[in-house]
């Protein structure tokens, strides 16, 4: 049984959040990683994760970046 990596995009839906989502999906596909994307848009949930600047990226519950749009290659290295 393959395990899907849980990728979370934290942000309220601004253009940069959307761009980060696109990059994450492309990165996972190019890396051949089974994944699921969750968009976390609830500010309360975002702050509960300690994040004060969006967009942010979390993989398997670990916040990997805050306040920037990582490139596809950068995200591949995190998967």
């Amino acid at each position: 049984m393959s395990t899907r990596q849980k990728i979370q995009i934290l942000g309220t839906g601004c253009p940069k959040c959307i761009k980060l989502t696109e990059h994450a999906e492309k990165a996972a596909k190019e890396a051949g990683v089974a994944y699921e994307i969750e968009k976390v848009t609830d500010i309360r949930k975002i702050m509960d994760m300690g994040v004060m600047i969006t967009p942010a990226l979390a993989i398997e519950g670990e916040v990997k970046s805050v306040g920037k749009v990582l490139s596809i290659e950068e995200i591949k290295k995190l998967l």
Binding site: T12, G50, M52, V63
Partner: protein
């Protein structure tokens, strides 16, 4: 939406870090100056300088807190030269954007918590001149 929720940096103000507010971390230690550091953090939040933030979260190594501390403009306020806040940051290779120590504001460290109003006013006046 509560005032606190609205303070997250999002699309409606400076989404994605452009001109984000500072995050402010006070040491909150077990002395008058530790509590003054904590109170300063709250007063600076109230006055709109930045958002009060959780030094314990960074110290605990919680990823969201550590990554936010790396990405944000940060104001760290320690109570005394033991500098726990600064050292927490150093553990993660972070240098605060602005750094203050309450004992350097003419306030002596002690263990008296009864009435900190005068010392608090002195410290707030000091810090507001520097920010």
């Amino acid at each position: 939406m509560s005032k606190k929720e609205a303070s997250l940096t999002t699309e409606n103000d400076t989404c994605c870090g452009a001109e984000s507010k500072a995050v402010i971390l006070g040491c909150s230690g077990g002395s008058n100056v530790g509590q003054i550091a904590n109170n300063l953090m709250i007063e600076l939040d109230k006055s709109g300088v930045g958002n009060a933030y959780c030094l314990a979260g960074v110290g605990a190594g919680l990823s969201g807190f550590v990554e936010t501390a790396k990405a944000a403009r940060t104001i760290v306020i320690d109570g005394c030269p033991v500098a726990c806040g600064k050292k927490v940051f150093k553990n993660y290779g972070i240098t605060p954007t602005q750094y203050f120590v309450v004992t350097e504001m003419g306030i002596e460290k002690n263990h008296v918590f009864e009435d900190l109003r005068e010392e608090m006013a002195q410290a707030l006046s000091y810090i507001m001149e520097k920010i």
